[in-house]
Amino acid sequence: MTEQHRPNDTPGGQQAGQSHAKHHHETGPAAEETAAVVSVDTAGGAMEPSAVPASAQSGKLPGGPDTLLRRIFTGSGMVSVLAVFLALVIGGLLIASTDTRVATTAGYFFARPTDFLAALWNAATRSYIALFQGSVFNPRGNGLAAQFAPLMETLTIATPLITAGLGVALAFRAGLFNIGAQGQIIVAGILAAWVGFALHLPLGLHLLLVLVAGIIGGALWGGLVGVLKARTGAHEVILTIMFNYIALYFLRYLLNTPAFQRPGESNPISPILDPSAVYPQIFGTQYRLHLGFILAIGATFLVWWLLNRSTVGFEFRAVGANPKAAQTAGINVSRSTILVMAIAGGLAGMSGVAQVAGTEKVLTDGVAATYGFDAITVALLGRSTPWGTFAAGLLFGAFRAGAVQMQIQTGTPIDIVLVVQSLIVLFIAAPPLVRAVFGLNPRRKKPARAAKNTKAATTGGAA
């Protein structure tokens, strides 16, 4: 682990922050106070900074510079790729281990080992080929349209993953661990679905209102967490987890009221949304792919612009890098916290809209599926960058779409994909493990990394 310790809190970085604090001495008592705290932290830079940042200790401004989460979220791109590869290999072994042919050939491994190895290879590759055929291109399809149907399915399933993943990624960039995408999707789904089936409005306006209702629903649910955190200091992880439960049970309650049920029925399923309230299918009715995917691309671009080109995004990143330094520099941390959670919620809300107005067209208690939690993995894999998250969303969409085909063609349980997903998270969370497996842990790389990190910390401190 030591070689992995990334000294984000290097004295250099701290000093940069401090000199900055001094520079701002005249900005008022609040800044002065913070500056004092920073000085105490490191005894004026003379002392090694504490391993646990004071901010995290006080609980007031967590998300300090060198938390485990931060390390997870900013791992190198290579680790992401290798983690996926490694997870696939282990997944393949798991598939093979449940294969009956592999089991029988293992029984006479020493008499004819080639049988065993062939069976092993066959079992794994057959499943992965089916996965590929179910997610990208199926050569056995009837005509080009049918051959590319799996790809369309992948994009469809990726849509909610991308937008919810962006929400999680954006919040993390501001130093907040947003577990609440699930609840935000649910609340967005409730509002969007209600507008969709209860109101009857003209074409165009109806869909627009569904979208707006969904985004507002998610933004409110996320923003509320931001408000509670900013005003009371409650930890966002606990808040978002609890808000997920509240949203789910609220949804279940609503689905038991006649207002959310079909007339004459008492099953917990809403009426079907009006045709004017659903996303148009962009490549014709034979594919499920809907307008939501285009909006997801737009959202990705928007988040990229927000983070990299806008003042607000700069503030988010500054708060994420070091909330105290950000505050000292005159950034309103409370406002940033509330705003980033609201935007994250709004993005997750787009997933809710994609669900009720895109694929399902009704509201049930399974409206969020597991997208809210998968989104965390997607953001992890995408290293919290907008386009990285987009790519990770596509990959996971392919997994999900392909898993259905894999199950049908080869009988491989759909759960294997969940195992692969979980392994990916595991490996991303343990970069040294991945590097050790691939023999990428040489010592000479270390100074380069450290230098890079120092540089990053310095820029962060000067923010």
Partner: protein, 368 residues
């Protein structure tokens, strides 16, 4: 420092590899079989398929029962079987489409959540046949056969049995989620208790369900057994001695609480649902008074058989006491403890219900 750590790491990995390799060795000494292909037995080219809801085929509830029915048809009728599990509601449509593309003659879909997806696929594939479990359509669809149950009839018998067997004068029930297929059990049970009170001038109390208000105790899902245990404990504390959980696997939580009470010397009993719990939940044999059975496996097999013989119809199959689609299970070990009078009364009630002399009504009853 680093290299030492790496060496240790590598060392432990090598150790791990050795262990697993030797494990492999132990089982890898068999003789290789002669090469040469085996022939597959000639099977019917009829394919029966099934799509689960997110519960999966191991839900110890309707997905599992339906799946077992189809597997039985595979054995008995020599058909081919294709099955696919849905993990989320998003999987319904692709799963169903894949089944149709795979050439399924009949596709069984499980649960009301698949209602819309089944309808859509049925409309798109008029030559394929479908059967949907526990869901009926307002307007019949020509190639979809609903398989539904008037469970209240059998639950009525269970309610009467419970009221006639209680020592404390209090019986209880609870559900998993408040959906019609669950509340129909509770309605019938409540009516059975009420009928007993009217007939005998008694005042047996029912906890956990109020038929008039259509409200009662629910665990919130079909997974959390500890919640079921807690609810049952509460019922016991309030004096109940017979409990009917209508919550799939959560029923085991009720079983656990009742078993503890029995070990503590209380005379308590359990009424199982869906299948004969004496056989499917043998852990609770010694407290299992009876079960309210929904014969889903049999229904699925029958529908497959009819379709294979070219006798498919979209008339809903409605399981009732009359066609044994719903039943009160045998008392098994409790047979000697159920008084003969009570048994004959139950027989009479069953006859009255079958003849239509006694009407059992529930808001959730099939409208057919």
């Amino acid at each position: 420092m680093t290299s030492l750590r790496a060496r240790i790491k590598r060392g432990s990995m090598a150790g791990l590899a050795t262990v697993s390799a030797s494990a492999l060795l132990l089982t890898a000494c068999g003789a290789a079989p002669e090469s040469g292909g085996g022939s597959t037995a000639g099977a019917s080219d009829y394919t029966g398929c099934i799509v689960s809801d997110s519960g999966g085929f191991d839900d110890q509830s309707f997905n599992q029962s339906s799946y077992e029915g189809l597997k039985k048809a595979e054995k008995d009728l020599g058909i081919k079987v294709n099955q696919v599990e849905s993990k989320t509601n998003n999987d319904f449509e692709p799963n169903l489409r894949a089944m149709v593309t795979a050439g399924c003659n009949l596709t069984v879909t499980v649960g009301f959540l698949l209602g819309d997806a089944t309808k859509a696929q049925a409309a798109a594939n008029p030559d394929s046949h479908f059967a949907i479990i526990d869901f009926g359509y307002d307007t019949p669809i020509s190639n979809v056969k609903p398989i539904i149950y008037d469970t209240a009839q059998a639950a009525f018998l269970a309610g009467y049995l419970a009221a006639g067997s209680t020592k404390t004068g209090t019986v209880a029930t609870f559900g998993g989620i408040k959906i019609p297929t669950v509340t129909i059990f509770m309605d019938g049970y409540a009516d059975g208790v009420k009928y007993y009170n009217e007939k005998k001038g008694k005042n047996v109390k029912l906890l956990g369900w109020n038929k008039d208000a259509q409200d009662g105790s629910f665990t919130g899902d079909f997974e959390k057994q500890d919640v079921g245990k807690q609810l049952t404990q509460n019922f016991l504390d309030q004096g109940a001695d017979i409990v009917m959980p209508v919550a799939g696997p959560v029923g085991k939580g009720a079983g656990a609480a009742l078993k503890e009470a029995k070990d503590a010397g209380k005379d308590v009993k359990l009424i199982w649902v869906d299948s004969d719990g004496f056989l499917t939940a043998p852990d609770y044999k010694d407290i299992m008074l009876s079960s309210v059975m929904k014969q889903m496996g049999e229904a699925v097999e029958t529908v497959v058989k009819e379709d294979k013989e070219g006798k498919f119809s979209n008339t809903p199959y409605v399981g009732t006491l009359a066609n044994d689609g719903v039943q009160l299970a045998p008392f098994h070990d409790f047979d000697s403890q159920v008084p003969a009078d009570l048994k004959s009364e139950l027989d009479q009630i069953k006859k009255d219900i079958v003849d239509g002399k006694l009407k059992v009504e529930s808001a959730a009853s099939p409208k057919a």
